[in-house]
C-alpha cells in the first residue's frame, strides 16, 4: 500500500487536540459547588494570575541559562544525565515519646485477631489490660504471641500492616510506627509531572535529614531525555534497609507514578519500604475542620506558611511545556521553588502530626 505524501499539518492537528485537553477545570472564584465535581480545578483568578505570571517570567528570564539561574550541577549515571539542585534549611523536630507509643500499642487488645471493642471490655473487666497479660489467657495466648512477635521482630512495614489490618490504615498507631525510625531514615518525596500518568516526570524532590537539617535534593529534567537518569537517582534514595518513605498522596500518585516510569524504561521497581502517606493521616485528623485538605491549604492553616509567586500545581505541565518549547528558563523558576516548598511543607506537616500524637508533653 503506498503512503500518502506527508501532510505537514498532521503533527499540528494532534498538537491542537492536546492543547484542548486540560486535566483541570477552571472554576469561578468561590464556586465551591463547581469545584466539588472535579478533583482537579483552578480558580479563575488563580488561573489568570498564573498566566500573567508566566508572561512576566518569560520576559524577565529571556536569554538566561539554567546555570546562571540555578546553582546546581550535572549528575551522570547509568541512565544518562540530569541536573541536580541541593538546598538545606533548619527544621524543628518534636522529641518523640517512644514509651508512650509502646504502651499504647501493648494496651491495645484489639490488635489481637478476634478481639473487638466488646470483648476488650470483658477482658479488661477480667483483669487483662495489655497484650502481654493475654499470654496468661488460655485461648488467646497464641494469637497474642503473634502480635508480640510482630512488634518485637517485625520491620516497620510488617507492624504498619498489622495495625492497619486491625484498625484503619490512617490510624494514629500506624503513624506512630514512624517513631521506630531514626530521623535520618526518612525520605520525603514529591514529584512534578507533565500530567496525570503516562507522561514524563519532570522534577523529583527528595528531602532527607542530615545533622538536624532538612536537605532537599532536586533532580530536574533539562530535557525529557534526562528522565531516566533522574529516575535512577531517585530510586537510589528509595532503597536501603532502614529507609522510610514519607509523601503527601504518594500512595496513589507519586510512588505508582515512579514505578510506572521505571517500567516505561524497562527498569524494575524499588523494593517495598515503609510508606507514610501524610494525606491519609491529615484526612483523619482534620477532615471536618478544614475546607480543603490539599497540601497548600494545610501548610497555610496548620503551618502558617503563605507562598508568593507560586505556580498552581495543576498548571506545572503548561509552564514546563512553555520552557521546552521556548528554551526560556523563566517557567522553571516557580516550578523548582514550588516543588522545594512542597517537600519542606511535607516534612514539617509530618513532624507536626507526629509531635501532636507522640511528642513528649
Amino acid at each position: 500500500m503506498s503512503a500518502l505524501p506527508a501532510p505537514a499539518r498532521i503533527g499540528a492537528l494532534w498538537q491542537q487536540r492536546m492543547q484542548g485537553m486540560r486535566e483541570y477545570e477552571i472554576v469561578r472564584d468561590g464556586n465551591a459547588f463547581g469545584a466539588g465535581f472535579s478533583n482537579s480545578f483552578v480558580f479563575s483568578s488563580e488561573y489568570e494570575q498564573a498566566r500573567h505570571y508566566l508572561e512576566m517570567l518569560l520576559s524577565r528570564y529571556r536569554g538566561m541559562t539554567i546555570d546562571e539561574q540555578f546553582h546546581g550541577k550535572e549528575l551522570v549515571n547509568g541512565g544518562g544525565t540530569c541536573f541536580t539542585l541541593e538546598s538545606r534549611q533548619d527544621l524543628s523536630r518534636p522529641v518523640l515519646d517512644s514509651d508512650c507509643f509502646r504502651t499504647d500499642l501493648l494496651c491495645d487488645l484489639t490488635l489481637v485477631h478476634g478481639i473487638g471493642p466488646a470483648t476488650r471490655k470483658k477482658l479488661n473487666a477480667r483483669g487483662y489490660h495489655s497484650i502481654p497479660d493475654l499470654m496468661e489467657h488460655p485461648k488467646l495466648r497464641s494469637r497474642a504471641h503473634e502480635v508480640l512477635a510482630c512488634l518485637s521482630d517485625g520491620n516497620t512495614s510488617a507492624i504498619m500492616d498489622m495495625i492497619g489490618s486491625r484498625h484503619s490504615k490512617s490510624h494514629v498507631s500506624v503513624l506512630g510506627t514512624a517513631g521506630l525510625h531514626e530521623p535520618e531514615d526518612y525520605v520525603f518525596l514529591d514529584i512534578e509531572t507533565l500530567g496525570l500518568f503516562s507522561r514524563p516526570i519532570i522534577l523529583f524532590g527528595i528531602g532527607v535529614i542530615d545533622n538536624g537539617k532538612l536537605v532537599v535534593y532536586q533532580y530536574l529534567l533539562r530535557d525529557i531525555a534526562e528522565e531516566q537518569a533522574a529516575l535512577i537517582a531517585t530510586a537510589g534514595h528509595l532503597s536501603g534497609d532502614r529507609v522510610a518513605l514519607v509523601t503527601f498522596n504518594g500512595k496513589s500518585f507519586d510512588l505508582p507514578y515512579i514505578v510506572d516510569r521505571l517500567a516505561y524504561y524497562g527498569l524494575g521497581s524499588p523494593a517495598k519500604i515503609p510508606h507514610f502517606d501524610v494525606l491519609h493521616f491529615s484526612r483523619r485528623r482534620w477532615k471536618d475542620q478544614l475546607p480543603s485538605l490539599r497540601l497548600a491549604a494545610l501548610e497555610r492553616e496548620i503551618l502558617g506558611i503563605s507562598r508568593s509567586d507560586d505556580v498552581p500545581g495543576q498548571m506545572v505541565p503548561e509552564f514546563y511545556e512553555t520552557y521546552l518549547r521556548s528554551g526560556n528558563i523563566g517557567p522553571l523558576v516557580p516550578i523548582v521553588e514550588h516543588n522545594r516548598q512542597d517537600v519542606v511543607s511535607l516534612a514539617r506537616l509530618f513532624f507536626h502530626l507526629l509531635g501532636e500524637t507522640y511528642g513528649c508533653r
Binding site: 494532534w14 487536540r17 492536546m18 485537553m21 516505561y264
Partner: protein, 769 residues
C-alpha cells in the same frame, strides 16, 4: 408444520400476497462430525460428555490448527458452536501450563457477560483454574488489582484495552504469560473503527514482545469475502481459515417482503412488521423480530401486543421487547421464558444480532435491510432449531438499497460476501497510535517498524517538531501534555476540535466538520434531548456559544463541494468509459442554511465560513462525448444526469464494499477542470481515505451495473428516495434528471457505442418509464 402454514398464509392473504416478492428455500443438511488429532484431557472429555456434545468437523479442524500452533479464523454460521471451538484449546492450554493467560475481546457488554457465564461454568466443571473475570469500564477499582494478578482468563473490549495499555507495568504477570487472544465477532472491527483496533492490537503485541510472550489468535467472524486478508490486516499475522460448517441445518425459507411494492405504502414499515409478527405468533412460531432502533423495538412490541390482545391476553403476554439497555436479570428472564416456550415473540434491536444466548427460533423477521449482507445472514441465522424447518422474512424499507433487492432477488440471494476493509496505511490513524505507543514504551524506529510500517520514519520527526515526542537515547519518548490514549478516538480521525459552551459550561466538543455542519451561527442544535441555538461561532478560539431555546423548526446547511486531483494513481477503462483512482483534495464550503418546519422551508440564511479542505482518495469517471451529446440531444439535463448517477452509485456502494453511505462523499460536474469534461467523483469522507473508493475501483463494472438497474427498475417518474434522491445531499437534491441518469448509467454498463442499440447486457434495454 407451522412454518408451512405461515408460508401458505403469505401466498393467499390478499394483503400479504401483493407484498410477497420472492422466497428462496435451502434444503436440510445433516451434521458432520470430526476427529481430533490428539485427544483431550479427561476433564475436558468429561465436560463434553456431560453436555452430550460431539464435536462437529469445523470445531475439530479449528482445535487441531490451534494446537498445531496456528492462528485461526472461524467463519462458520451463527449457532454453529464457534465459542466451544476456541474455549477448548484455551482451557486445554490453561490446564497444561499453570501460568498461561488468555484475553477475550468482545464488542458489547452483553456478549462479555454471556461469555463470562460460559467460561465460569466450564472452569467449575473441569476444575481448571481459569478464574475468569470481566475487566472493563464498569469493573470496580477495588477489584482490578486482583483480576490483573490472578485471573487467567480476562474478558474485555478494545476500548478498555486502548485505555489500559499504558498501565502495562501493572499487567506484567498477565502480559508476560499471555498465550491466547480471542477476538469474537471480529467483523465488527472494520472500516475506520477496525483500522484503529488493528493498531490497538499491534500496541498490545508490542507490549507482549517487551514482556516476552508471543500470543496466538483465534478470531471468529461472520462470513466475509476476505477472511484471511482481514485477519492479517487486523493483527499483522498469518491465519488458517476454518469455514467448512459441520453443524446441521433444517429446511430454511427466506422471504423478501415489500410494503412499497407499488411505489407507495399505505402503512409504515413498522406497522407491516407488526402484522407479520402477530401472524407468526398466532401460528405458534417462536419469532425474533429485528428493528433498526430501540424506539421501534418498543413500539412494534406495544402494537403487536395490542393486536394480539384481541385474540387472547395470554397471546399478548407472550410478546416482549429485548434490547440493549435491559438489565442482565431482565434479559435472563426473557431468555428463560423463550427456552420454556412461554414467550412466542421477541422484538430486538440489531445490536443484539450477535451470538446472544437465546438459542434458535422458528422464524426471524428483519425490519429493514440492516446495511450489510453479513448482518442479514447473522440475523436470519437465528431461525432454525436443530433439524426443523425455519423462516426468515426481510421487510423492505423505501430506500434505494432495500428496493434494489426487492427488484433483484437473485442479486440478494446470490451475491458474494462483503469485503471487510481495514486500512493500516492511513497516516492520520497511524500517527495517533504512534503517540499512544510512545507513551507506553519508548519507540524504536527499527524494531517498531514491524508494528507501524514505513510510516515511522517520516511521522516521528513530524510529531517531534510539534513537541509531542522527544528523541532520546532510549528511543522516542512521548512528551505531549494530554494523555495520548485520551486524545485518540477509536471511531474517527483527528481534526481541529471546537468546544460548545452554554453560559460558560462545556456542553460537548465537536470536530471541525461537525461544527461547520451542525453548529454554525444560527443553527439549532440538539444535546441530550434539549434544544440550543448557536449565538456565536468563534473560529479563533474554536469556541461555539449556545443558549437554550424552544423552537419548532430546525436548520439544514447548504454545502458546495470542490475537488482537485492531486495525483492519479491508477486508470482503467470500463465499457469504453475512462475511470481513474487517486489522491484528491476536497474543498467543502457551507454557503448558507435552510430553516425548516417539517418538510417546509420557511427561511434561507447565508453563511460565511472559511472553506474546509481535506485530502482523501477517490475514484472518478469521465463521460464520453457521445453520451454527453446523446443526453443533450434529447433535451435532457446533463448536470442532473451526472448528479443522479453520483447518488445512485453512492447508494449502492454499501452493496459491494462494506461501508455506510455516510462514509462516502461525491461530486459531479458537467464541465470539470481545464478540459471541461463531464466527471463524477466518489471519495472516502475521511481525511487520508480508508480504502473504500480503492475497493470500489476494483469492482466498478458490478457497481455501475447495480446502480443502473436500480434506476431503471424504480417505478417512480422523476426520481425518488428509492433511487436517485440522497438523504445527505448538500445541494438539496438539485439538479436531478432521472431519464438523463439512466442514460449515463446505461453507458457505464454497456459502453458508449451500444446505447440504444441491441447489444445490451442480456438484452436489457435502458427503458425509462
Amino acid at each position: 408444520m407451522a412454518v408451512a402454514d405461515l408460508i401458505r398464509l403469505l401466498n393467499v392473504n390478499p394483503v400479504y400476497r401483493t407484498r410477497f416478492v420472492h422466497m428462496k428455500t435451502t434444503e436440510p443438511e445433516p451434521a458432520r462430525y470430526g476427529l481430533l488429532e490428539t485427544s483431550l484431557s479427561p476433564s475436558l472429555e468429561a465436560y463434553l460428555d456431560q453436555r452430550g456434545i460431539r464435536l462437529y468437523s469445523h470445531q475439530c479442524e479449528a482445535i487441531n490448527h490451534v494446537r498445531a500452533g496456528k492462528n485461526v479464523i472461524l467463519t462458520t454460521s451463527t449457532a454453529s458452536g464457534k465459542t466451544l471451538a476456541f474455549n477448548i484449546p484455551v482451557f486445554s492450554d490453561l490446564e497444561s501450563h499453570p501460568d498461561a493467560r488468555a484475553l477475550y475481546l468482545y464488542p458489547t457488554k452483553a456478549l462479555s457477560n454471556d461469555q463470562f457465564l460460559t467460561l465460569e461454568q466450564m472452569a467449575q466443571f473441569t476444575g481448571i483454574a481459569a478464574k475468569p473475570a470481566i475487566y472493563d469500564g464498569d469493573t470496580p477499582q477495588s477489584k482490578r488489582a486482583a483480576i490483573r494478578e490472578h485471573s487467567r482468563v480476562i474478558i474485555s473490549n478494545p476500548h478498555e484495552l486502548h485505555q489500559v495499555l499504558s498501565w502495562h507495568a501493572k499487567w506484567q504477570p498477565f502480559l508476560s504469560n499471555l498465550d491466547f487472544i480471542i477476538i469474537d465477532e471480529a467483523h465488527r472491527y472494520r472500516g475506520v473503527f477496525g483500522s484503529h483496533i488493528a493498531f490497538v492490537i499491534r500496541r498490545l503485541l508490542r507490549l507482549c514482545r517487551h514482556y516476552g510472550s508471543n500470543p496466538r489468535f483465534i478470531l471468529s467472524t461472520a462470513t466475509l469475502a476476505n477472511p484471511c486478508e482481514f485477519a492479517r490486516h487486523l493483527t499483522g499475522l498469518e491465519f488458517s481459515l476454518v469455514d467448512n460448517d459441520g453443524s446441521p441445518h433444517g429446511r430454511k425459507n427466506f422471504v423478501l417482503y415489500n410494503p412499497f411494492y407499488d411505489g407507495i405504502s399505505e402503512r409504515s414499515l413498522h406497522q407491516e412488521t407488526k402484522d407479520l409478527l402477530v401472524s407468526c405468533v398466532k401460528e405458534d412460531l417462536q419469532t425474533l423480530c429485528f428493528t433498526g432502533s430501540r424506539k421501534m423495538a418498543e413500539l412494534v412490541t406495544v402494537w403487536a401486543r395490542d393486536d394480539a390482545r384481541r385474540i387472547s391476553s395470554r397471546l399478548a403476554e407472550s410478546i416482549s421487547a429485548y434490547r440493549a439497555g435491559f438489565l442482565p436479570e431482565e434479559r435472563r428472564v426473557i431468555e428463560r421464558q423463550l427456552k420454556e416456550g412461554v414467550l412466542k415473540g421477541v422484538v430486538s434491536t440489531n445490536a443484539l444480532e450477535l451470538g446472544i444466548d437465546i438459542g434458535s427460533l422458528d422464524a426471524v423477521i428483519i425490519s429493514g435491510y440492516p446495511g450489510t449482507m453479513m448482518s442479514t445472514r447473522q440475523q436470519a441465522g437465528r431461525a432454525g432449531r436443530k433439524g426443523d424447518e425455519s423462516l426468515a422474512i426481510l421487510v423492505a424499507q423505501a430506500n434505494p438499497l432495500d428496493q434494489y433487492f426487492m427488484h433483484h432477488p437473485e442479486q440478494f440471494f446470490e451475491r458474494s460476501h462483503e469485503h471487510a476493509i481495514i486500512d493500516t496505511g492511513n497516516p492520520y490513524i497511524v500517527s495517533g497510535h504512534l503517540l499512544c505507543a510512545a507513551a507506553e514504551l519508548p519507540l524504536r524506529e527499527e524494531a517498531d517498524r514491524d508494528f507501524f510500517g514505513e510510516f515511522v520514519s517520516w511521522l516521528l520527526p513530524e510529531l517531534e517538531s510539534n513537541d509531542l515526542l522527544r528523541r532520546t537515547s532510549r528511543g522516542w519518548v512521548y512528551a505531549g501534555r494530554g494523555r495520548a490514549a485520551d486524545a485518540v478516538r477509536l471511531d474517527g480521525v483527528p481534526g481541529e476540535t471546537f468546544r460548545v459552551m452554554c453560559h460558560g459550561r462545556l456542553l460537548e466538543t465537536l470536530d471541525l466538520g461537525q461544527a461547520y455542519r451542525e453548529a454554525h451561527k444560527g443553527a439549532i442544535m440538539l444535546h441530550q434531548g434539549e434544544t440550543f441555538v448557536v449565538n456565536e461561532m468563534d473560529l479563533e478560539t474554536h469556541t461555539i456559544r449556545v443558549t437554550e431555546t424552544d423552537v419548532d423548526y430546525y436548520t439544514q446547511p447548504l454545502k458546495e463541494v470542490d475537488l482537485s486531483i492531486i495525483e492519479t494513481l491508477e486508470t482503467r477503462t470500463v465499457n469504453g468509459v475512462r475511470c481513474a483512482f487517486g489522491d484528491v483534495e476536497v474543498t467543502e464550503q457551507y454557503t448558507g442554511y435552510k430553516i425548516k418546519r417539517g418538510d417546509t422551508i420557511i427561511g434561507l440564511e447565508p453563511l460565511s465560513l472559511p472553506a474546509l479542505t481535506f485530502r482523501t482518495r477517490a475514484f472518478w469517471f469521465i463521460l464520453p462525448e457521445s453520451i454527453e451529446q446523446k443526453v443533450s440531444g434529447v433535451g435532457l439535463d446533463l448536470a442532473g444526469g451526472l448528479h443522479g448517477a453520483e447518488h445512485a452509485v453512492i447508494a449502492l456502494m454499501p452493496l459491494h464494499v462494506m461501508c455506510d453511505r455516510w462514509d462516502i462523499g461525491g461530486l459531479s460536474s458537467p464541465a470539470y477542470g481545464e478540459d471541461g469534461e463531464p466527471v463524477v467523483f466518489v471519495y472516502d469522507a475521511y481525511e487520508g481515505g480508508i480504502g473504500l473508493a480503492e475497493k470500489a475501483f476494483s469492482i466498478l463494472p458490478q457497481l455501475f451495473l447495480s446502480a443502473y438497474e436500480l434506476v431503471r427498475d424504480c417505478r417512480c417518474e422523476t426520481g425518488c428516495p428509492s433511487c436517485i434522491y440522497s438523504p445527505k445531499c448538500g445541494n438539496d437534491n438539485q439538479p436531478l434528471d432521472k431519464d438523463a441518469t439512466a442514460i449515463v448509467l446505461g453507458a457505464l454498463c454497456r459502453g458508449p457505442e451500444s446505447t440504444g442499440g441491441s447489444t445490451g447486457v442480456a438484452g436489457m434495454m435502458p427503458v425509462t418509464p
